[in-house]
């Protein structure tokens, strides 16, 4: 049987398949379909210090091979997560990664401090790239100086594996390099792509807000390019995200350099997508007589 194990920071993942933040709830929601023990890791819904109500509905709209969302980072806040969600998650033998954000740099730092204190959490994923942006600090993914400062300060506060989730906009390789230089253990990319859709009769947006973030298979080629560029520039691992629905999709990301991948929108169309992808990667390795998934990673031939 081939080895699917990969390493990111000081963590070992039993396989390179993780769930993407915001598409898998807090794990409980999908545990009726998926044995969470089988996953490389679970990245939970983006968390902030205080509960956040999110954007007005309608919040999603389907596009060709994709969907736009404007959830607006609705979440239950740190305290309720710790009390109500973490006890369930810690029962499973998988890595728990908490995606987090703040309204300002102080909140990012405070969140990192609080999350660092929780034994059950294996890694932090710092969201610097929400397309439903409404604060300077959530736009730091587009502004090198802000990103540099934030990663530096967050790095100083936590010893846990620190992943920075980047935007597809701008110079992805540059931003990834900043994360590496400031001590991040990995970068994950891409977040959704800012997008909009219009109702021609009302001439208004189909969403409660004017714009949202595009996800799903429609964005896969863009994500693949971003992962390739970043992985050529930095030595720390890249986690690939964007339109991964099948094992073949996942393998494409691994070939261009992703150490692991996250499955997002595909959970909505097939609640068992993650486990099918794991199985599909394993089958591919067997068929190709490859003993270790790491042999595939970065094997792209130009």
């Amino acid at each position: 049987m081939p080895s699917l194990e990969v390493k990111i920071g000081n963590l070992t993942f039993k396989n390179p398949v993780l769930t993407a933040s915001g598409t898998f709830g807090y794990g409980l929601e999908y545990s009726q379909f998926v044995d969470l023990n089988l996953l490389g890791g679970v990245v939970v819904k983006g968390l902030s210090l205080q509960p956040k109500q999110g954007n007005p509905p309608p919040r999603i709209y389907e596009t060709a091979c994709g969907m736009i969302n404007s959830i607006g980072l609705q979440n239950i806040g740190f305290e309720e997560f710790k009390k109500e969600k973490l006890p369930f998650l810690k029962k499973f033998n998988t890595n728990i990664i908490v995606n987090f954000f703040g309204e300002n740099l102080e909140e990012y730092i405070e969140m990192a401090r609080l999350l660092d204190s929780l034994q059950e959490i294996n890694a932090l994923e710092m969201n610097v790239s929400c397309p439903n942006k409404d604060s300077e600090w959530r736009r730091m993914g587009l502004e090198p100086e802000l990103l540099k400062k934030a990663v530096k300060e967050v790095r100083a506060i936590t010893k846990k594996t620190l992943i920075v989730k980047l935007s597809p906009q701008g110079d992805v390789a540059l931003m990834a390099k900043i994360c590496e230089d400031e001590g991040a253990d990995a970068v994950s990319l891409i977040n959704t792509i800012p997008a909009m859709v219009i109702d021609i009769k009302t001439r208004r947006s189909m969403l409660g807000t004017s714009t949202g973030g595009l996800s799903g298979p429609a964005i896969k080629p863009i994500a693949l390019r971003a992962v390739w560029e970043a992985s050529q520039t930095i030595k720390i691992p890249v986690i690939g995200i964007g339109g991964i629905v099948t094992a073949e999709d996942a393998l494409q990301f691994l070939i261009v350099g992703a150490r692991a991948i996250q499955v997002g929108t595909a959970n909505f169309i097939n609640p068992q997508a993650t486990v099918e992808i794991i199985e599909g990667i394993k089958q591919f390795l067997i068929e190709e007589k490859i003993k270790d998934v790491n042999e595939i990673i970065g094997s792209f031939i130009q």
């Binding site: 915001g22 598409t23 898998f24 709830g25 929601e29 999908y30 009726q32 379909f33 819904k45 109500q53 999110g54 007005p56 509905p57 309608p58 919040r59 999603i60 709209y61 389907e62 596009t63 060709a64 091979c65 994709g66 969907m67 969302n69 959830i71 609705q74 799903g216 298979p217 629905v245 929108t265 959970n267 909505f268 169309i269 097939n270 609640p271 068992q272």
Partner: protein, 248 residues
């Protein structure tokens, strides 16, 4: 209970020009309740990407039915599927209508009948049904409804020999307001808004709501509706809510 299965189409037929009734084979151990929904997904397609949530119209052992209106790309493709083709079904999901203890009022607006028919059928001869449609041709399952319900009142835009002229909430005000019974309703937002004005706070009134939905299990937070307690998820906190909780 397995909530994800491949399902074979038994029938998929037009009831009117726009409205279809699809009947699917499902495992016999699946339990459903009136007000719940399932997500139907076309296999192996990425466009449309998402499955479509539909209220459970009827369920007898091993066979489940959904009544749907052809509105967009997904329902158009669904309407073209034939007997023996396969769909992926997830569900049943969601909170159901609390079971009535005796007689009850049902208010259905158009395709809203899809959500309340199963309730009427489950409690035969207990429902006082108020059913509003635009014209006579849109009245669905009239004979069955007359058999199943205690009373059937129908409103249409133009009066006929057996329908009232006007909207269903006006009909309810005239014929049903004095009945002190719990209300179960499903229909367009304009109907629910009007109903909220009419119903007094002491009278239980349960309504099935709808929003665009992705996951169906409470994870994506895409299908929220505004309530007195903030945004609630239609898929798992609903789709059935007490009308007094909703900010319509």
């Amino acid at each position: 209970m397995n909530k994800l299965f491949k399902s074979k189409i038994i029938t998929n037929e037009a009831v009117t020009e726009e409205i279809y009734l699809i009947s699917l084979e499902i495992p016999e151990n699946i339990e459903t309740k009136p007000g719940q929904f399932c997500i139907l997904r076309l296999n192996h397609r990425l466009d449309p990407l998402l499955g479509r949530p539909f209220s459970i119209f009827d369920h007898v052992c091993g066979e489940i039915k959904f009544l749907y209106r052809v509105k967009g790309k997904g329902t158009k493709i669904l309407s073209q599927l034939k007997k023996d083709e396969l769909l992926t079904v997830t569900g049943p999901f969601g909170k159901w209508y609390p079971f009535p203890q005796g007689d009850f009022i049902v208010i259905a607006g158009g395709i809203g009948l899809a959500s309340v028919y199963y309730l009427i059928k489950k409690f035969p001869k207990k429902a006082h049904l108020f059913y509003g449609v635009r014209n006579e041709n849109e009245i669905l399952f009239y004979e069955e409804l007359k058999e199943l319900a205690k009373h059937v009142y129908i409103s249409t835009e133009k009066e006929t020999s057996y329908t009232y002229r006007g909207v269903v909430t006006e009909l309810f005000k005239e014929k049903g307001k004095s009945l002190s019974l719990p209300i179960y309703a499903c229909g367009p937002m304009v109907m629910l808004k009007e109903l909220k004005k009419i119903v007094n706070e002491a009278q239980p009134c349960y309504v099935a709501t709808e929003e665009r939905m992705a996951c169906g299990v409470g994870a994506c937070l895409g299908c929220v509706i505004e309530t007195k307690q903030g945004f609630k998820r239609v898929c798992t906190d609903g789709p059935v809510f007490e009308i007094k909780e909703l900010l319509l």
